[in-house]
Assembly symmetry: D2
């Protein structure tokens, strides 16, 4: 089941071309990811520390379809997929809301689950595995 | 009447000290300003262009009281005040929500109203003057 | 011939994990791109306006190999490649300097050349075509 | 003796008004501060940890005189001043280079020196006190 995050484009997101600066789409999608974790009971300040786990982004990609401007209302629809036993991918569809809504960008991040202490790969803690199942496409 | 904006602190707001990077408080307060304008019917993409007006920040200041961390729920309470005939100040109180809410920072921006074409000072267009009165302390 | 850009990692680049926030690598690589254009006599403020051209990023991708921390000295090595008659790709290798230098990330952006006025695809203006040839792998 | 830092304005610094977004001046000045510390032998990754010290920004202010655009060459001239026994202020003059150079902004940050462990105020470690003397106005 996708997780859907709503957001307004802010002045801080834009650049001198008058549209959202392309790296900022990744930051916006990361907000959707953070919000989906919080909705799954995973509190960012404590969870990763308490479970000795970090899940850094190993790869990302983005495809830009339509520019976004300050004040635009957007939705980010997030779905997840396992990547082996100790990682996952997240796909994000960014739409500019309106009648009709229009696809603005498609992004993807790939994450690996590591022990914070040893930096070795480790299995997902169970709340994170539950989050992954909930939003699997 | 203050305008109150709610926001969650995001990973993108933070720095390697683990807390919100101090310039980012200004960007967060500017979001509150944008949202208050939109709530007053002032659409950012068209209003300034159609009224030949820009209202740049001439000065700003901030006082940091408590650090903010990723995942913190915050409120920004915005009040405005006229500065002469062709400018205004905005004061922002940022609180970290909780029981009780605690003051995290106090900020202020000062704006001057200019003709976009001539760059000379000009009076506020009436929707902006109405916004200013609505949120005056 | 690659264009090489040197940079120090700044506090503003980092996040609460203590390392460079993953979208910021794209902004850093875009700096290298801007610097390579300037080195090729393409002045950002005037060139695109005077030539009725914009070259937005249509796609990007990144692969993160090693984290970067505040104060790290890095190099970004940029090479370009044509993409059809009216576009180009840029590949960026980011190294953390030291003895030996170590690969930190590999990134790629893909650009399409459009008329600013019509938004239709158009051929590269000749200074941009010369820049492209100069840095082709 | 002022510390002078040179910088080119980047696309990432700008917003949809076509100029540097006002909070970003603070981030640019912080770069100058980081560079001045590094020039004084204070390595950001290790110094603060090894000396059990943090020096957060307690207050800041900015006055914007002239807009800056992508590609502009700027200098940041930094001078410091003690604030009591356990703090300091930094004043930054930002100039847009050219013939003649023109003042673009004046900024100020105020810092308090704390023990990282106890969060109590403490005296400056001697390398930081030396840095402060070196750049005092």
């Amino acid at each position: 089941m996708p997780f859907v995050y709503h957001r307004t484009v802010r002045f801080a997101d834009t650049d001198a071309a008058g549209v959202v600066f392309f790296p900022n789409y990744l930051a916006i999608c990361h907000e959707a990811y953070e919000e989906s974790l919080a909705a799954g009971g995973i509190e960012l300040q404590s969870f990763f520390r308490e479970h000795d786990v970090v899940v850094p982004v190993a790869k990302c990609q983005a495809e830009y379809v339509r520019p976004l401007r300050c004040g635009d209302k957007i939705s980010v629809s997030l779905t997840s997929a396992p990547l082996g036993a100790d990682g996952y991918a997240i796909n994000y569809d960014v739409h500019r809301l309106g009648r009709p809504a229009k696809l603005a960008a498609r992004l993807r991040t790939e994450h690996v689950c590591l022990s914070a202490a040893s930096r070795h790969r480790r299995a997902l803690p169970s709340p994170l595995a539950a989050w992954l199942r909930r939003h699997s496409a």
